[in-house]
């Protein structure tokens, strides 16, 4: 059964008292509201809000769509295959995926596409954008607001409804027809590939669809009016939390396909700046990565973000829709995102016609397939997808095969924001004593639906162990060990012990054990494994660095790598410690993924107490504390 809300392991885990009927009022003082496998969103997603007996809340957003491994799949595939493959990340908004991968290859290989290709891609994207927005507003959100189970149920209710639905679904068809004409197919484009458009539309067909777009305004008015009427009063009247918005920033026109990136907190950025500004991480119990920035723990992308960032570029016609829909800017209300999509739909009707007219004035020419000469390098491709900004980055070898891929997709960016909104709104909603679980569940379900999540897209966490993996950030109550390796009696070999004592004296933030590991590698690893730490930091004496007192930081993998290649040995305890470390992996001791190794260059290691004067353990301890805390908690 798909929707068995009691089945989820989380609902049985932990010490919280959970009512027998989830969704109904629970045990003595606790309340649990959950929706498993939320319908009418793309992919599998669930949420649960548990009000504990002590009044505190546990709020979980769970992206359950099983892992899809796309980033791993891309490795070893060619520049020409990757756009086809990543397009299959999403069947609802496939064009932006193919475009992002194509642009990534073009950036890496130094290819500039023709003006015609650029224009055609933009027009194809308008088609996908319009189709997706109409689909979301009409097929996925409107039935929720009407409290019916589908647009079909609405459509068959009365003959008037049938006529209305058929008329509005025609808009959906229009978006599809434009996408198909330019993209080759409405789901999964054929024409979008690096370097050129593999096929171009016939002039008369493009003219015909242009006229249909130009004549669609009246029908679109109906859609906006229906949505405005139905959605009026549907948003829970709650305090709205301010947030960071990120979207492409246009210069002269509303940007779906542009080059600069705007943040409501940081202002306009170049892609290089944005690359440094965003940080991916993984969270427990969700198959989706999340992203935060230097400024915020989470941010929102999508139609509402684009409107906020580009408020000066919205056309007059779309501004009228904003009035009809009660949307004023700046606007931080996630419940307004579907309304924002409808405003953008109007913008697309206007801009697509303009873009087609410009292209027709220039005239369409068949383009020959360019010779693509791959080269080793890195390329990021980014643009706006219906659900928000999409950022793909790829490394290629000299033959144009992908060696590393990272796909950051809108829903991945939005999950952090959704989680924070769930927390924010649940607290307010559950604070209202009269609200029933059913009502609260509905409001939260609606919140997530307005985000228009696309969960199939969100689930391809990169594998760990790669240098390019997203940083894991641990919770503040994670169990951490700081472990020295070394012999207290052998001169500078004691440096690990001394530094750990210093660190202990100042203290690393969190639940930290300080351990003297001695010199026998495997025993200490066994002990550590038994404690099941979330992170372990080893501090050891090493040789082979350039100056006494210098500190080297290595990951577990790097340590093994270094140990293999360094001759003479790097760690003074290489024979036992690194060997033990390898053994530990081999016998599958539970060594956590998060392991760092700090090596300090020693001077003399003769038997005797006391360290060489050049080693400033105080300074080293502070540097390491900083590194550890940064590794543990900073995002």
């Amino acid at each position: 059964m798909f929707n068995n809300i009691l089945k989820h392991p989380l609902l049985h885990a932990g010490n919280h008292e959970i009512g027998a009927s989830v969704g109904g009022s629970g045990g003595t003082n606790s309340r649990a509201i959950a929706r498993k496998n939320i319908p009418m969103v793309e992919g599998k997603m669930s949420f649960e809000v548990i009000q504990r007996v002590d009044g505190k809340f546990d709020v979980n957003l769970i992206v359950e769509e099983p892992l899809r491994h796309f980033e791993a799949i891309c490795e070893g595939k060619s520049w020409e295959e990757v756009p086809i493959i990543v397009s299959r990340i999403c069947g609802v908004c496939p064009f932006p995926y193919a475009l992002a991968a194509s642009k990534g290859a073009e950036r890496a290989f130094g290819i500039k596409v023709s003006d015609q290709t650029h224009r055609l891609r933009e027009i194809a994207l308008y088609g996908n954008m319009f189709n997706s927005h109409v689909l979301h507003a009409l097929d996925l959100v409107l039935p929720r607001l009407l409290h019916v189970n589908s647009i079909i149920e609405f459509a068959v209710a009365t003959p008037e409804n049938t006529a209305l639905a058929a008329k509005l679904l025609g808009l959906h068809t229009l978006g599809n027809d434009l996408a198909r004409l330019v993209g080759g197919r409405e789901v999964h484009s054929i024409t979008i590939t690096p370097g050129y458009m593999t096929a171009i539309p016939k002039t008369e067909e493009l003219k015909a669809v242009r006229d249909r777009l130009a004549n669609a305004h009246e029908t679109y008015d109906v859609l906006v009016k229906v949505f405005a009427d139905v959605s009026a009063g549907s948003n829970p009247k709650l305090p709205i939390r301010e947030r960071e918005f990120i979207a492409l920033r246009g210069d002269t026109k509303y940007p779906f396909y542009g080059s600069l990136i705007g943040s409501s907190k940081r202002g306009t950025m170049t892609p290089e700046e944005f690359e440094q500004y965003k940080h991916e991480y993984v969270v427990d119990n969700s198959n989706s990565k999340q992203v935060h920035t230097d400024e915020s723990d989470s941010y929102m992308v999508g139609a509402l973000a684009r409107l906020n960032i580009n408020s000066d570029l919205i056309c007059e016609e779309a501004k009228k829709d904003m009035e009809t829909l009660g949307l004023s800017l700046p606007n931080y209300d996630p419940y307004m995102n579907t309304a924002a999509q409808l405003v953008e739909g109007r913008q697309v009707l206007i801009d697509a016609v303009k873009a087609i007219d410009e292209l027709l004035a220039i005239g369409l020419k068949k383009e020959k397939r360019p010779r693509i000469v791959p080269r080793e390098g890195y390329g990021a491709g980014y643009l706006e997808a219906p659900r928000g900004m999409i950022w793909h980055e790829y490394r290629y070898d000299k033959n144009g095969l992908v060696t590393w891929a990272n796909c950051i997709i809108p829903t991945g960016m939005n999950t952090g924001s959704m989680q924070e909104d769930l927390e924010h709104f649940s607290e307010h909603l559950l604070g209202e004593a009269h609200a029933s679980d059913e009502e609260i569940g509905y409001d939260l379900d609606l919140l997530l639906a307005h985000y228009d999540p696309c969960n199939s897209c969100a689930v391809h966490v990169v594998r760990l162990g790669s240098k390019n993996e997203p940083k894991i950030t641990l919770a503040r109550d994670a169990k951490v060990a700081v472990v020295s390796i070394g012999n207290t009696l052998a001169g500078d070999d004691a440096v690990g012990n001394v530094v750990v004592e210093e660190i202990k004296h100042h203290g690393v933030e969190g639940n930290v054990d300080y351990i003297h590991g001695g010199v026998s590698g495997l025993t200490i690893l066994e002990d550590l494994a038994a404690e099941k730490y979330d992170a372990i930091y080893f501090i050891d004496a090493v040789d082979g660095l350039s100056r006494v007192g210098e500190v080297i930081k290595l990951t577990g993998e790097e340590l093994l790598e270094k140990a293999q290649e360094s001759e003479p040995a790097l760690s003074l305890h290489q024979g036992d410690f690194t060997h033990a470390f390898r053994l530990a992996r081999a016998v599958k001791l539970e060594v956590p993924e998060k392991v760092l190794f700090f090596g300090i260059q020693v001077g003399q290691t003769e038997v005797g107490m006391g360290l060489t004067a050049e080693i400033d353990t105080h300074e080293i301890a502070h540097a390491i504390i900083h590194e550890i805390e940064d590794d543990l908690y900073s995002k």
Binding site: P66, A72, E81, P94, H172, N287
Partner: protein, 266 residues
Amino acid sequence: MSKLEEYTLRAKRGDKPTLVYAELGSCDGCSMVIVNLDGTLLDLNNVFDIKQMRIAIRGVYDGPIDVLMVEGAVTCEEEAEELREFRARADYVIAVGACAELGGIPGMAPPFAVKRAQEGKFGAHVQGQRPIAPRPVAEIIKVDAVIHGCPITTADAVRAIRIILAGGRPDYTDRPVCAECVLQDNGCLLFEGRACLGAVTRAGCNAYCPSNGGFCWACRGLLPDAPLNALYNVAKVHDIPQAEVDRKLRMANQRHFTLIEEKEKK
């Protein structure tokens, strides 16, 4: 009594055959083709009682199923269990699209990635979920019919539904894509030095990709006794490395080759 008679009789009583559309590991692109039918979606509703289709309909259904459409590859044990449970209630099962029929793009998941997922080494994953190497629906349950393609075509979907309603089993041509490609007046991509798999791929798409300037990557599945060697030879003549042909063969059909390789190992 034939299916047609049964359905007609039931329709007269206002008892339409029940349809459940299940979504496993996929992009939902095939659901989009169905939803994109727009007017036709309402027609589909006229002939079926659509009980469950997550992307378009709220509600779950645990009664008997006349027609079960399954989109997507089976990517975890939980999905396999769901499928078996569905099969037990379903009269007729259609595997919809390349993922469900062949494993498709999800089937490309490299073993190391699946293994890492199984070991829970992704840093995060949904508790209790047990990932498996993504595989076609038919490896888990009996499948009565397929709709080919990535994504499926509107024409195939409508045709398959009509045939099934009449109690038949949709069948497909065993001709290669090339046979349809020549009728479209397309030049041969192999001659241009591009790896195109039309020669070994089941037709029925009117050579849609080559007609739009794209290479065929066998999304409708390989022909029985696909002439792979002939394809390699022609490719060689046109300086297309076999490695490139092999890579493209392993896009939609990776699972097919994995199973062959596993068999050979034993």
